[in-house]
């Protein structure tokens, strides 16, 4: 007889493992002056809660871009604002302008870890659960799929090192769910949101835009050209609208603001072809052919811009 609730049990088990990782230190703990990604996220909450929106991406006296400046798209900024507002209600010291730099405290770690857990459950775990439930595969192995998808890399980065990848990955997964259900407009909104949370989703964008969007606009099969065009227009409009709503504050205020934000988003281009150690082709090639020196001697001299 088939064991009931296997998927639910494994979902809960992954949460236990995530809690287990949470009690360990985060990146940059007890390492002044720079600390690590945890401090970056906390700093963004400080910036978004205390400064007006036009200063979020700008180098001002209150916002030193060299100390963990915002370099993710606006949706991350909004999420930091929301989380920061909650943080402020719990304890003002978490996000006090300037004073809270390098703030480290057990209760604060608990708060930050719970914010990841809550975001994870709302976006990623829910998407994974619904997606796997809807799959046409034998119930016997669905739990294995769930377990593999909650893999240690994601858990360690989000709950250990400290980031919010679960939000953008979750939104992408929701986009895929909507596509499989034929709800193209919702899919467009979900993926645009994912892209506006973390520009890293560009890695998935080519496949999703070209593959899914164009193909989706050609469904249902055998429909006439006008209705296919209508589909494409709907998807395009949804995407543009989502971008517009998210970027609205930055389009409105000053001309140069938009340019400044884009520069911050694509700052890696100033850093060179790769940074530190990454398991990819360029880094490996660099061992024998010193690409970095060949391509851009000045960027090496300018040092690392973080």
């Amino acid at each position: 007889m088939e064991v009931p609730y296997k998927l639910e049990v494994i979902a809960l088990t992954t949460i236990i493992i995530k809690l287990g990782v949470s009690v360990f230190p985060y990146s940059g703990k007890n390492q002044p002056p720079k600390f690590g990604d945890y401090e970056a996220q906390r700093h963004w909450m400080e910036i978004t809660v205390n400064l007006p929106i036009q200063d979020w991406y700008r180098n001002t006296t209150d916002n030193d871009l060299l100390y963990w400046g915002l370099d993710y798209p606006p949706l991350t900024a909004y999420q930091s604002y929301l989380t920061g507002s909650v943080a402020k209600k719990i304890n003002q010291d978490y996000v006090k302008l300037h004073v809270s730099q390098g703030f480290e405290n057990f209760d604060h770690q608990y708060f930050m870890r719970m914010s990841v857990l809550v975001s994870d459950c709302i976006f990623f775990v829910s998407a994974l659960y619904f997606y796997i439930r809807s799959l046409k595969m034998s119930n016997k192995y669905k739990w294995v799929f769930f377990a593999l998808s909650s893999h240690s890399g994601l858990t360690l980065i989000d709950y250990g090192h400290f980031q919010y990848n679960c939000v953008s990955l979750g939104l992408t997964l929701w986009a895929i769910i909507f596509v499989s259900q034929g709800k193209n407009v919702l899919a467009a909104i979900a993926f645009s949101a994912a892209l506006n949370f973390k520009q890293m989703e560009l890695y998935h964008a080519i496949l999703l835009f070209a593959g899914f969007y164009l193909m989706a606009s050609c469904q249902p099969k055998g429909s006439s050209l006008p209705s296919q065009l209508k589909n494409l227009v709907q998807i395009g409009a949804a995407t543009v609208a989502t971008f517009a709503i998210i970027w609205y504050p930055f389009l409105q205020i000053h001309d140069w603001l938009l340019q400044q934000v884009i520069v911050r988003l694509f700052i890696p281009f100033q850093r060179g072809i790769f940074e530190d150690y990454v398991a990819n082709f360029w880094c490996t090639l660099n061992v024998v052919i010193k690409i970095k020196r060949l391509l851009n001697p000045t960027s090496i001299a300018s040092g690392t811009i973080t």
Binding site: V3, P4, V9, L12, I16, V21, V23, Y110, M114
Partner: protein
């Protein structure tokens, strides 16, 4: 399968090394220090730390052996004067010692598994390897027991190790190796004397089933066997207490500190006396309100706070240790009855252990809430083979594990305890439902009685109240004991209900068999 489950669970336990540790952590560090740094005759006398040695000598030897491992991690922890010393290496060492000694637990589970396989007609090896079989499910239920996880790997104790030895003993009985069982149980008694709670079961069973042989109307008494048992018991106790013969009184006063402990622990264990206390409080309150009691007389139930509680009841008569002993003995009687009437049956032995552990938990003096684990473990063995026992196991394990919530109150552990108990309960429910699936019945899931279901819903609310709601509703902490009291009383009701059902169930089968005769 068993070792695969054990390996997975061990990895999980490693993740919780940095979590909250209770004062029990310092207790064991202190014992490592005492046994390593002081000569034998000072072990039970030293009181540099308030956490004096109060386990029998064999556990002290166990700590002594561990202390040699501690040297490799951080010799500073072995200095008696280093009170509350907790360096990273100390934490690492102590946590890993608990995780590694759980191997004894796994060995105990393995011994019981083989016995269960045998009773099902020799499909042992094949069954134990299958993903879905009663052996695997039993292994999972025991190895992943969330109560043991919360108490051992977070709060910090060595119950896994001790339960392992208990299971080695019980497993021996299941395989009719009575002498081995007696040996393991003697060892267990010399490690932690709380297991005296279930000693009567061993005494009655071994006398009735091993020493006496009643066939038809002939009764033979095997005197030789009694001698063998006696030798085992006397030698183990002798080896353990031998070096302390000169300080026997001191050792015993440490082991049984009656004069310092009250009827209930600071957090009332969810037993009969918790209900007694609350009824007394309510009667006193009503008495004042309705004018039964002269308002000038200072009749209020006084319950002094602190580590130990002195109780003087207001309306109902005050309870002393002798009263609890009488009640406990009365409650143990069903266990004795079934052991005498149905000799030589290992299943009946396990039922008797459950009954006896229940009795001691419900009516004992100064019972700790952790003692519920001694009831839950043997009941797990029965859960895989009988649907009735399975239902009672589910009720007891959920209630018992929730009753342990007040032990973990720090932020992370607050969230963790809900998630782990929920996961374990859901997993047990799923596996046991599938195991006991009856194609003829309408549903695929285990059915609870309607009042049991309502109790469980209420339990969920009590659990949430204790962990989150109370601190939100009363942030200043004016009534700090309210959630504990509610938890105690509510769980006590559930546990007494399960006990009652279990007693009736045990006596019914006994009646059936005696009718057949």
């Amino acid at each position: 399968m068993l070792w695969r489950i054990f390996a997975s669970v061990t990895f999980g336990k490693l993740l919780f090394i940095p979590s909250y540790r209770s004062t029990d952590f310092e207790v064991h560090r202190n014992w490592l220090a005492i046994t390593h740094s002081l000569p034998l005759n000072k072990w039970y006398i030293d009181d540099t730390s308030q956490w004096t040695l109060d386990y029998p000598p064999l556990f002290a030897w166990f700590e002594y052996i561990l202390s040699w491992g501690a040297l490799l991690f951080d010799p500073e922890m072995l200095k008696v004067n280093n009170l509350n010393y907790a360096s990273q290496n100390t934490i690492l060492f102590q946590r890993i010692s608990v995780i590694l000694t759980d191997i004894v637990y796994a060995l105990g589970v393995q011994k019981c598994l083989y016995s269960f396989g045998n009773n099902q007609g020799g499909k042992v090896q094949k069954d134990a390897e299958k993903w879905f079989s009663s052996s695997t499910i039993l292994a999972f239920l025991l190895l992943c027991n969330v109560g043991l996880f919360m108490v051992d790997h977070i709060h910090f104790q060595y119950n896994g190790f001790l339960t392992g030895i208990l299971l080695l003993s019980v497993g021996s009985i299941l395989q009719k190796e009575n002498l081995k069982a007696a040996f393991w149980f003697s060892i267990l008694l010399n490690l932690k004397h709380i297991y005296l709670y279930i000693a009567p079961v061993y005494a009655v069973y071994l006398l009735r089933s091993y020493c006496f042989d009643i066939q038809k109307s002939k009764m033979t008494f095997h005197f030789k066997r009694l001698i063998k048992l006696g030798v085992i018991v006397v030698t183990t106790f002798g080896f353990t207490y031998g070096p302390f013969v000169s300080q026997l009184q001191q050792v015993l006063s440490r082991l049984f500190p009656f004069e310092n402990r009250g009827l209930c622990h600071a957090y009332w264990a969810p037993n009969f006396w918790a209900l007694y206390n609350i009824v007394d409080k309510i009667l006193a309150f009503l008495g004042h309100k309705l004018g039964w009691i002269d308002p000038l007389s200072k009749v209020t139930a006084s319950m002094t706070g602190g580590l130990v509680q002195e109780f003087e009841h207001a309306i109902l008569p005050s309870i002393g240790p002798k009263t609890t002993l009488v009640f406990t003995i009365l409650a143990i009687l069903p266990a004795v009855v079934i052991l005498l009437k149905q000799p030589n049956q290992p299943r009946v032995f396990i039922r008797a252990i459950v009954l006896c552990a229940f009795a001691s938990f419900l009516f004992g003096w100064h019972v700790h809430e952790k003692a519920i684990l001694i009831v839950i473990t043997p009941l797990t063995l029965l859960a895989v083979s009988s649907q009735e026992d399975c239902r009672l196991f589910m009720l007891l394990s959920i209630t018992g594990h929730v009753s342990l919530f007040p032990l973990l109150f720090t932020p992370f552990e607050n969230v963790l305890k809900i998630v782990v108990v929920l996961t374990y309960s859901l997993a047990s429910y799923s596996f046991l439902s599938a195991l006991h699936y009856d194609p003829k019945s309408k549903g695929t899931l285990l059915k609870f009685r309607s009042w049991e279901r309502f109790f469980l819903y209420g339990l969920g609310f009590v659990a949430l109240f204790e962990s989150c709601i109370h601190s939100m509703v009363d942030p200043s902490g004016r009534l700090p004991f309210l959630p504990l009291m509610i938890m105690s009383v509510y769980c006590a009701v559930g546990i007494i209900y399960v006990w009652f059902s279990f007693v009736i169930g045990s006596l019914k089968t006994e009646k059936k068999i005696s009718k057949q005769k």
